[in-house]
Symmetry: C2
Subunit: 460 residues, 2 copies
């Protein structure tokens, strides 16, 4: 069994497990109480805060623990916006932020605020210039900008320090979602707020952190209490916080060596997958990337079916394809990048992954993809009649989910002469992404979308 979904969650680091058990004995009481059990808990909490602040690179009194990374983002975005409500009500986020940031932006709009997304390039990178342009184009003063340190789906590392400079020049605070990069090192640059999530570094679930640099205006959203500087209410699971801090320190001590090792393994996957599997697009920045994460999309493959095939072969991976999401829309990250979303697989290696496991994955993958493709494409159909010159071939894929529309397009294209056109009628939103991506991969011309018809000209 190989677990290659580290970017989602990791098992407890051994140091975290030890700390959790020890702190359950000493740190179960309410740290706000003055009795000795409370004081003992308080000391553990203070020590955990110092450890975490050191790892983040902030002062302990700038850092609070929250009930999850998601909560840190929700509270961080809402608190920073409320703190700057007199400056403005505009929120700027990159188009590839974690869904928790997008949900916070949604809530902000529902409450009467405005928001805009900074686009990314095909590698998923947020250009500092694009941030500057978006700030200049904002409908009013921008209250907050959010840019992640590294993308959780494709691994692209963002130029946070440069973005922070752009924001500083504009007088706009920058919130950095550092969930994916924090295990690997501090986020450099003049960020104003930063968030993290313990289960990404081998700490327990249910522990997030929110750092707010001194001088950043912040008004905690909703009801609060006296805990965590009034920024995160509720009795916490203190032993989990202690374990999270211990784990972060331990993971950081191993980070450099582990990053070098995993970078090489990911390099191997990035190089081999396109050689082993036809019609694959490896996505994300090949150089400025997280050490342990690689994502690729496979044409004519249903992402969910591929996940299950890999699961049967004892590999646990993740997918940003439409078919594994409860909302049935393809990953907003892949959409923003304009890359193929079908048959999407994210491999994120946990620390300690053995080279042999990666090789076994590479052995298994081609068969898994072929199996799914065979099932989808079915037996070779009897050759369909060709279409006459000048006539457009219409393929009706309405009501069918991706990758069916792309598969039908691939089957139909050979029936029109070079220069002829195919119109694919499709209502699955992923088609809007995957038909152009298919054209680019196949050297055909995408003519655009009218209503639900995607028109393609045969070039080859």
């Amino acid at each position: 069994m190989a677990y290659f979904d580290a970017a989602s969650a990791l098992p407890l680091h051994p140091v975290a497990r030890q700390a959790l058990v020890a702190a359950e004995a000493d740190g179960w009481a309410d740290p706000a109480r003055p009795h000795r059990e409370g004081r003992r808990a308080r000391m553990l909490l203070d020590a955990a805060r110092e450890t975490a602040a050191d790892a983040v690179g902030c002062r302990p009194d700038e850092l609070v623990f929250t009930s999850s990374g998601t909560s840190a983002l929700h509270r961080g975005v809402a608190g920073a916006l409320a703190g700057r409500v007199r400056a403005g009500r505009h929120l700027l986020v990159s188009a590839v932020e974690h869904s928790a940031v997008l949900h916070a932006a949604e809530a902000h709009r529902a409450a009467g605020g405005t928001s805009a997304e900074v686009p990314v390039d095909r590698l998923g990178r947020v250009a500092p210039d694009a941030v500057a342009e978006a700030l200049a184009a904002a409908p009013g003063p921008t209250a907050l900008a959010c840019v992640q340190s590294a993308n959780h789906e494709v691994g692209t590392v963002q130029p946070v320090a440069e973005v922070a400079e752009v924001c500083r020049a504009a007088g706009v605070p920058l919130l950095v979602d550092a969930a994916q990069s924090l295990p690997w090192g501090r986020v450099e640059g003049a960020w104003s707020l930063l968030t993290g999530s313990a289960h990404k570094w081998g700490g327990p679930g249910g522990v997030g952190l929110l750092a707010v640099r001194k001088g950043t205006r912040f008004a905690p959203p909703g009801p609060v209490d006296e805990r965590e500087s009034g920024r995160a209410p509720g009795f916490p699971h203190l032993p989990a916080i202690v374990a999270a801090a211990a784990s972060l320190r331990a993971v950081r001590a191993e980070a450099e060596a582990e990053a070098a090792r995993l970078t090489a393994l990911v390099e191997r996957v990035r190089a081999r997958v396109p050689e082993l599997v036809e019609d694959v697009e490896v996505v994300g920045d090949p150089v400025r990337r997280l050490p342990h994460l690689v994502t690729f999309s496979c044409l004519h493959v249903d992402g969910e079916a591929l996940l299950h095939a890999l699961d049967r072969a004892e590999f646990s991976v993740s997918s940003g394809s439409s078919c594994t999401s409860s909302t049935l829309t393809p990953s907003h990250v892949l959409r923003a990048m304009g890359v193929l979303s079908e048959g999407n697989v994210r491999v994120s290696l946990p620390p300690g992954t053995a080279r042999a496991e990666v090789e076994r994955f590479l052995d298994v993958l081609p068969g898994a993809v072929a199996g799914v493709r065979e099932q989808l494409l079915g037996p070779a159909a009897s050759p369909a009649p060709a279409v006459d010159d000048g006539e457009e071939l219409v393929v009706d894929a309405l009501g069918r989910r991706c990758p069916a529309p792309v598969i039908e397009l691939a089957r139909a294209i050979g029936r029109v002469p070079v220069g002829g056109t195919v119109a694919v009628l499709a209502d699955d939103v992923a088609a809007r992404l995957d038909i152009p991506a298919w054209c680019e991969m196949r050297g055909q011309e995408y003519l655009g979308e009218t209503g639900q018809a995607h028109r393609v000209r045969r070039l080859a």
Copy 2:
């Protein structure tokens, strides 16, 4: 060392500790992922939900886990209010609810809503008639009523089933904060929403539960995600949830026998404390009460000093006195009841408390109180001159914290003739509560407050 602060938090139940360690091995992955680690986590989460729902007395799909009892209350109140926003924007809460409910009410008012408090009697009881009156007197349709199942500071059990009937008749949903009573049994009656907190029953901190009965309108507040039916966002600490559910089941299995045992120990404390210590008021309902909790207030005693004296004698208790709270105001619960707040001590016995520990507490208490009183009262002052007939004696205690104003009053009263009056100038808000309470205990007449002057007539 005896820990008598069970109402604040309990150490992990042995069953919870086992479950936590076991679930860290099997339940660390994201239960939303389709791979086998995710599916295993999902199974644990589903089983925990069934166990908790059975203990609460609701359907599993009516119950979600939150990141704390506080969060369950904040989300429950906000969600129920938002769900009924078309019906009205008035919120009714009892005057003795947990501060998390009062904070939620504050946030509701800040957002333009209205709220009112249902008063309690001297035993801390919310009368169903008082709820009916408050509903009738509301400025508009009431969107939600909140009444706890039992009070966390004085142990009074509320007539929730009758209150629920009153609410049902008025078409108003009732939210019951069951944090203190849930370890002891289900909350009977037709409540609409119910909350609980795992560290009150030997589960880990950072786990709360929120039940919303089918048919109750509910609109989750703020940004949400796909977790917990969209009612509690963020990656949870699943092993803690598993441990919480296991602990609740285990505690319930022992509840009846343990309740009988602790009820007798508390009975002993309630009877003996007034015999052992002069000028003590035992507060809360003597009969309809939690089995494990007793609260008393000691005249002429600084609550914080008494807590420290008991801590030195190896007893960990809690206090609702002004002096232990960060806000420097006396407990809103004691204030609502109109009882003495100074020298307040809450004893809440954990399951398994031995009779001998309680006896030792009763041995230690008189000396601890005497020590604090001696320090506060100081050596007997040289007799101050008496005041002539008809003249009012003015005692200036401005700027001095309780219990100083009451101590000065006690010293001054002998200087005026029977029928004469003393005016105590005091700006500590606790004086407003404690001077009338002192008069009642001492058989003197409280004439009321004008500005910062509290006037007392000597009757004896």
